[in-house]
């Protein structure tokens, strides 16, 4: 079972890493933030699988932290983008 979960963690991470190519292309900031968000959810899924495979229960707390902070970063982006418009006006 552990081997399967481990392999699944690697698989999810590899696929999401391919999504990172989106960061390279852009073109907009929104695309980049989306790619990071996909990496975020994929990373969290990989982390949960990894934690179960290697028997690290604290991985759950790390995942909770990542979810909260990922939302925090996205909101910081939205506020920053609107503020930048206000600065420029």
């Amino acid at each position: 079972m552990a081997d399967f979960l481990f392999a699944a963690a690697g698989l999810v991470l590899a696929m999401v890493a391919a999504g990172l190519a989106r960061i390279l292309w852009g073109p907009g900031d929104a695309d980049r933030i989306m790619a990071a968000q996909l990496l975020g959810t994929g990373g969290i899924a990989a982390l949960l699988l990894l934690g179960e495979a290697t028997n690290v229960p604290a991985a759950l707390d790390v995942a909770l932290t990542l979810v909260l902070l990922a939302a925090f970063i996205s909101v910081a982006f939205v506020k920053g983008a609107t503020r930048s418009e206000a600065d420029g006006a």
């Binding site: 696929m15 999504g19 229960p57 979810v67």
Partner: protein, 97 residues
């Protein structure tokens, strides 16, 4: 019993991995920002949800199960709302519908 639970875990995790694949392909292939957002939210919600579901069959104790479900619910709700906010910045005039 444990074999059946393991089977369910494998099934759900594989399905979850498939949705991550779909999300990645969508993100790479779809032509415009808003349809990419659409692809992304599917991957977010279903991929992570199925992985969480799969791991629930292995969870030891109520607290661990609760944390797993909270991770998914938070990702779901925060993801959906944040995606809408990002859609706003992608189109500064704001969507009309």
């Amino acid at each position: 019993m444990s074999a059946a639970l393991n089977g369910l875990t494998i099934l759900a995790v594989c399905a979850g991995a498939f949705f991550f694949l779909a999300g990645t392909v969508g993100l790479l292939r779809f032509p415009d920002t808003l349809s990419r957002l659409h692809a992304l939210t599917k991957a977010d919600n279903l991929g992570l949800g199925l992985v969480v579901l799969g791991l629930l069959f292995q969870a030891e104790g109520l607290l661990a199960a609760l944390k797993l479900i909270s991770v998914w619910l938070l990702a779901l709700l925060a993801g959906a709302t944040v995606t809408q906010l990002i859609a706003h910045t992608a189109r500064p005039s704001g969507p009309q519908a």
